[in-house]
């Protein structure tokens, strides 16, 4: 059985809210019914059939042939099955998802991808925009569980108020990565300025950092079994290139002492 495929006819005329297109909500629906689902965000009243050509039948395995920076909320609330996007995504990808897998061949071009997610896996081959996995305005926490893998670079405020889960960034992460972090783990090749600002708990691992906040305290050279344990797991889920981002020995800084100060920055060059 081939995956239910949404082939993009032409560039969407407006931003799309793709949150209704999840395996759970499409299960058992006919193509005709799916084509009538409203995904527009203006008075135009855009429906699935206006933007996509449908083929295939397995609703547990959704494929989007062609992406757009206007694809918002794809895989929002996903709790099982898989979604494969052969292109770019807009904002809010996998928002509050609890399980399943989202694969993006392009980049996350809008904010809040993976925000509030509690489980599952998001793989992005390209880059991640600002505020990926960050707390929505007014929300207590950002990403809370699951795994987010970014093959390229990540923008600013990645993992802002993140509470749990793991983020892996093959390239560098921008300013204020893991700011106000509450828990979880972020691994990146490098960190921009002010990484971990205001973090309470959680672990931030990188090959290098532009600066270390003055409210972080040097806590010695760290070479405990936790690093190879994490590296092994990362290698299994994301591949060898990502596993090399986890050093076996790193400089450890505890902080942010301006807050609870139970977080840590582990800065060590990749093996």
């Amino acid at each position: 059985m081939t995956g239910l495929t949404f082939t993009l006819r032409e560039a969407p005329p407006e931003r799309l809210d793709l949150s209704p297109l999840t395996p759970a909500r499409l299960a058992g629906l006919s193509c005709a019914k799916i084509e009538r689902i409203a995904i527009g965000t203006t008075r135009l009243g855009v429906a699935v059939g206006d933007v996509f050509r449908l083929s295939g039948e397995d609703a547990a395995d959704l494929v989007f042939a062609g992406g757009s920076t206007r694809f918002d909320r794809l895989g929002s609330g996903l709790d099982g099955g898989s979604i494969r996007l052969e292109g770019d995504a807009g904002g809010y990808l996998g928002l509050a998802m609890a399980g399943g897998t989202i694969t993006v061949a392009g980049s996350l071009t809008g904010p809040y991808g993976g925000s509030a997610m509690t489980g599952g896996l998001i793989r992005v081959a390209g880059h991640a925009a600002d505020a990926t996995a960050a707390a929505l305005p007014g929300a207590v926490a950002g990403m809370a569980g699951g795994t987010l893998i970014v093959g390229g670079r990540a923008g600013e405020l990645v993992g802002d108020r993140m509470r749990g889960g793991v983020i892996l960034v093959a390239g560098g992460a921008g300013r204020l990565c893991a700011a106000r972090m509450l828990g979880g783990t972020i691994v990146a090749a490098s960190l921009g300025p002010r990484a971990g600002q205001g973090m309470r708990r959680g672990t931030l691992i990188a090959g290098s950092a532009d600066d270390i906040e003055p409210t972080f305290v040097f806590a010695g050279r760290y070479a405990q079994a936790f690093l190879p344990l994490l590296g092994n797991w990362v290698g299994g889920i994301a591949g060898e290139a990502f596993a090399r981002l986890v050093p076996t020995s790193a400089d450890r800084y505890r902080g942010d002492m301006a807050d609870v100060g139970e977080g840590e920055l582990l800065i060590g060059p990749p093996e």
Binding site: T185, A225, L230
Partner: protein
């Protein structure tokens, strides 16, 4: 009763008792193979029998770096008990008082089963509340600060209730030397099965807790009801515990093969078993013959 002999060794037509057990498997690692072995030894301790609220414990097999969660050398360890609370108490004590003190040691769950016992979660006192809990994928680990850095321990450990323990074979021979040699061969053969331990020190025991064992004491032979023939002068008990009936059966089969290979010429006269207890599962000895 039909007589059955292999290579001159008589195989008695008796039932082996096997007690149902709850078992958990731990993976213990260390900075070097030597320290990993010390750590595993400290956790296994002396634990030959789970009768009376204690556990059967032992080292299952050494693990190479690519088989352990942290890539360091390690060993797999099995613990068996009759009741969950006994297993939980033994685990907390053996890890908290024993293994935690061994330099560089780490302890993980060796089974992915759904039934879990608390491991790191039961050791909250060790780090004075300063431990860090990390979730890595589906597993939770505790990093407990200690003198050499951190003690890394998984939060919970997988357990199975399909396990069997207190499985006992008696090797009977002409001299204690012959029986000891046969027992050593049987221990080596049975211990090679993954998921099986021989919890007695060295694998073979001269002290049998099973009912009716006195009938096999060679120095009491003059008493009524001795089970020993005139040319039988020594007996050793082989104790086994395993994660399920199939690995236990495999281990018994290998032990029988090892002993019968030595044969009558090597001074072995008979393989038998003590009386099975009422609450035990009965396994027929002859069914395990290779």
């Amino acid at each position: 009763m039909a007589e059955m002999t292999i290579n001159g060794v008589r195989i008695d037509d008796v039932s082996l008792g096997a007690a149902p057990r709850l078992a958990c498997a731990a993976v213990v690692t260390g900075p070097t193979a030597r320290w990993a072995a010390i750590a595993a030894g400290s956790m296994a301790g002396a634990a030959p029998s789970a009768t009376g609220g204690i556990v059967e414990a032992g080292i299952d097999r050494p693990l190479k770096g690519d088989e352990t969660p942290d890539g360091r050398p390690g060993l797999s360890l099995l613990l068996f008990a009759e009741k969950e609370e006994d297993l939980q108490e033994a685990l907390t004590l053996r890890v908290g008082r024993g293994l935690a003190a061994v330099p560089g040691a780490a302890c993980y769950s060796g089974l992915a089963s759904g039934r879990r016992l608390r491991l790191g979660a039961a050791l909250t006192g060790l780090g004075g509340g300063a431990e860090i809990v990390k979730r890595v994928g589906e597993r939770r680990f505790r990093r407990i600060p200690l003198l050499d850095g951190e003690f890394l321990v998984e939060d919970d450990i997988g357990a199975v209730d399909t396990a069997l323990g207190d499985v006992s074979l008696l090797i009977v021979g002409a001299s204690s030397g012959a029986v000891l040699g046969a027992a050593a061969a049987a221990v080596t053969a049975a211990a090679a099965v993954a998921g099986v331990i021989l919890p007695a020190p060295g694998g073979a025991s001269r002290l049998s807790r099973h009912a009716g064992a006195q009938a096999f004491y060679p120095t009491l032979r003059s008493a009524e009801g001795s089970a020993l023939a005139a040319d039988e002068n020594a007996v050793l008990e082989l104790l086994l515990a395993g994660l399920d009936a199939s690995v236990v059966g495999d281990a018994i089969g290998r032990a029988l093969a090892a002993v019968t290979a030595i044969g009558r010429a090597g001074g072995i006269t008979r393989i038998t078993a003590p009386e099975a207890g009422a609450r035990q599962r009965q396994l027929r000895l002859r069914e395990f013959l290779p």
